[in-house]
């Protein structure tokens, strides 16, 4: 899935590093309203004032001064597939995206570098009042809705990298689903990092009005490049009463990317939010999708898979905050560590005083391939209410020689046997993916097995 990038044509590339002038220029080039520029500049101050987080993965290799914060590719935005330049189509092909793309072409909004270059909304969705566009376009065309919700779930001061994203965000998706509308096909976006040392700071906001349903899927794959690169996205979800949002991510960044992402959802009365999160690539990932169960009857689930290979640290997990009675949550976190990789589960389960009759189940399963790999679990459980039903289970396993021998005795090579065991281990995760993604994940796992020493 990695490839060498052909030489991209760039219209505008800001200088490395970050200051007020760069942020102002970025905002002006996008013709943003003044409130957004003010928001960005305030966020920049917060970013500069906050220290680098020291509690999680090692970020000492990351130098924020050594990154381009905004690049606009020469290709302009496209709404028709036919208009998409061949060069970009070739890129998609090389990325091995095809199946999903072929089938769901009509629903794809893809991001090439910092801009969405291709999007095509199905007509029947727009007829129903669904808005699916890149964030800059939404800010221009639907400023009132954007302004109402933007940064309400994840404020700029939430953490250093949320502040960074707030200052320099570019691209990302905006989805608005009107009350009662159920989108019967996943909305999909693919994106990638193309230019060396380029940061990518997409900003995604999904608003599901009462009784609506939307499934959003993003998959990433990255080409080879030389220096450390930073990806720091912010994703905000708002599930209004009775709405249902499922947000699926498959990231396969190349192994020099720092992937520092903040994702949070607010779930109102009787609504449901699901994060499905698969982390394959990157050098360091720090990502803990969060669900705030704000009103009674809300349900949240976080299903994640992390694969840490050589030189990789996947520090991921999930956070659930029960703020209301009769709310339920479920976390299933699976990780695979191999070839010296490290995976950590870092989770928070919080029940505030007064949130009675809460049910929650957390399950962490780690699979380790060899003696040089590592897995850790850092669960935080903070329960301020007595009448709750909380379960936490954790397991660590290795592929046993007995399992390998058994499968090999049925004609499977050692590699296929390992692959099959791993596929079984991640089955609970894959089951939740749209079919074509499940196929891609199985292929990705097979590739990981080929590369593995084990």
């Amino acid at each position: 899935m990695v490839l060498k990038a052909s030489t991209p044509n760039y219209v505008f590339r800001s200088a490395k590093g970050l200051n007020r002038e760069i942020v102002t220029e970025l905002s002006e080039r996008k013709n943003e309203p003044s409130w957004m520029l003010e928001f960005r500049l305030k966020a920049l101050e917060i970013f500069e004032s906050k220290p680098m987080p020291s509690w999680g993965a090692d970020l000492t290799g990351l130098d924020p001064e050594d990154i381009y914060y905004y690049i606009k590719p020469i290709e302009d935005q496209h709404t028709e597939w036919a208009d998409v330049p061949d060069k970009i189509k070739r890129t998609f092909e090389k990325l091995g995206i095809p199946q999903a793309e072929q089938k769901f072409l009509a629903g794809v909004g893809a991001q090439f570098d910092s801009e969405v270059i291709y999007k095509n909304l199905k007509k029947r969705w727009s007829d129903q009042g669904v808005i699916f566009s890149d964030m800059s376009t939404a800010l221009r065309d639907h400023e009132d809705i954007v302004k109402k919700y933007f940064s309400t779930v994840i404020p700029a001061h939430d953490n250093k990298f949320a502040a960074l994203n707030s200052a320099v965000w570019s691209g990302g998706s905006f989805v608005y689903v009107p009350a009662g509308v159920r989108i019967d096909m996943p909305l999909q976006a693919y994106f990638r990092i193309d230019s060396s040392q380029m940061g990518q700071f997409e900003r995604t906001l999904i608003i599901a009005e009462p009784g609506s349903f939307v499934e959003y899927v993003e998959g990433c794959s990255a080409p080879i490049y030389k220096k450390n690169s930073l990806h720091s996205a912010v994703v905000e979800l708002v599930a209004l009463p009775g709405a249902h949002i499922r947000y699926t991510t498959i990231q396969n960044w190349s192994n020099n990317v720092y992937n520092l992402v903040t994702k949070r959802a607010v779930a109102y009365k009787d609504s449901r939010v699901e994060w499905v999160d698969g982390n394959f690539g990157s050098k360091v990932t720090m990502k803990y999708p969060c669900i705030v169960l704000a009103e009674s009857g809300a349900k949240g689930s976080i299903i994640s898979l992390a694969v840490a290979g050589k030189g990789q640290h996947q520090d991921s997990g999930g956070k659930i905050i029960h703020c209301a009675p009769y709310t339920t949550s479920n976390i299933i976190a699976k990780s695979i560590s191999k070839d010296g990789g490290r995976s950590s589960y870092r989770g928070l389960l919080k029940v505030i005083k007064g949130a009675h009759a809460v049910q929650s189940k957390v399950q962490c399963d780690a699979l380790i391939f060899d003696d040089i790999s590592r897995t850790d679990t850092y669960p935080t459980i903070d329960i301020r209410e007595d009448r709750v039903d909380i379960g936490h289970e954790a397991s660590v396993s290795k592929i046993s020689d007995a399992q390998l021998f058994y499968l090999q005795s049925r004609g499977l090579s050692e590699q296929s046997a390992r692959g099959l065991i791993v596929n079984g281990f991640i089955d609970a995760f894959v089951q939740l993916l749209p079919m074509e993604y499940a196929v891609e994940i199985n292929r990705l796992i097979a590739m990981e097995m080929e590369d593995s020493i084990g």
């Binding site: 046993s400 020689d401 007995a402 399992q403 021998f405 058994y406 499968l407 090999q408 005795s409 049925r410 004609g411 499977l412 090579s413 050692e414 296929s416 046997a417 099959l420 065991i421 596929n423 079984g424 281990f425 991640i426 089955d427 609970a428």
Partner: protein, 266 residues
Amino acid sequence: MVLLIQFSCCYTKNMKKNALLRINKLFVSVIDKPVLYDISLSISPGAIHAIMGPNGSGKSSLAYALMGHPSYAITSGLVLLNGIDIAGMSVHERAKNGLFLSFQHPCEIPGVSVASFLKEAYMAVMGIHIAVADFQKLLIARCEQLAIDPVFIARGLNEGFSGGEKKRLELLQLLILQPKVAILDEIDSGLDIDSLKVVAAGIELARKENPSMSIVIITHYQRILNYIVPQRVHVLCDGRVVESGDAQVALNLELKGYDGFKSINT
């Protein structure tokens, strides 16, 4: 069909030539500790041999060594499967060459469905591709033959199966993979009489479909040999074959036990 054969020099020579599985002067060690000594067996196409012996006598070691378990090193001797030397082969190559081992304690592989596992195994052993729907049909027909509820094939491989269910699943795999030589390691242990009959009927069915398939039954008890009558019975004690004979050997063991053999060896 195979006749009961008296050992004689010329006959042995002739039989070796036609044997489907020929083991000659086999020595096996586990981490430098010898577990099998000088084992020689010759099994003709379609023949049934029983290997009996007390706990720790080396029965399962023999099965593992033949299948190629990495911990069971063949230190000397010869194993020919259909005339091909398999001693240097990897486990899956032995399977592809027609060797099958029914495990005494089949492993659980969580999350891997019986159907998806068996489809991969089928394609690997047969060397052909089969569509999911076609394989599903094949599998369900086989389940019916073995009185296996088809819901099992969607479950994780051996995951939460009872002892009897695991044994029936081993037999299902045998029927699907159609080996040349099947080693059945204590396929009768832990079975009630009804399950034993189902298993015996399954073995009989496999033999009917594939009359040239040779079977090595490893067992403690004579019971299953009432249903699957062996041409030859070999008694293992402390890693050595201490007696070989016809089905009467098993009947005698049932009466006298293994004590007599133990004293011979120690």
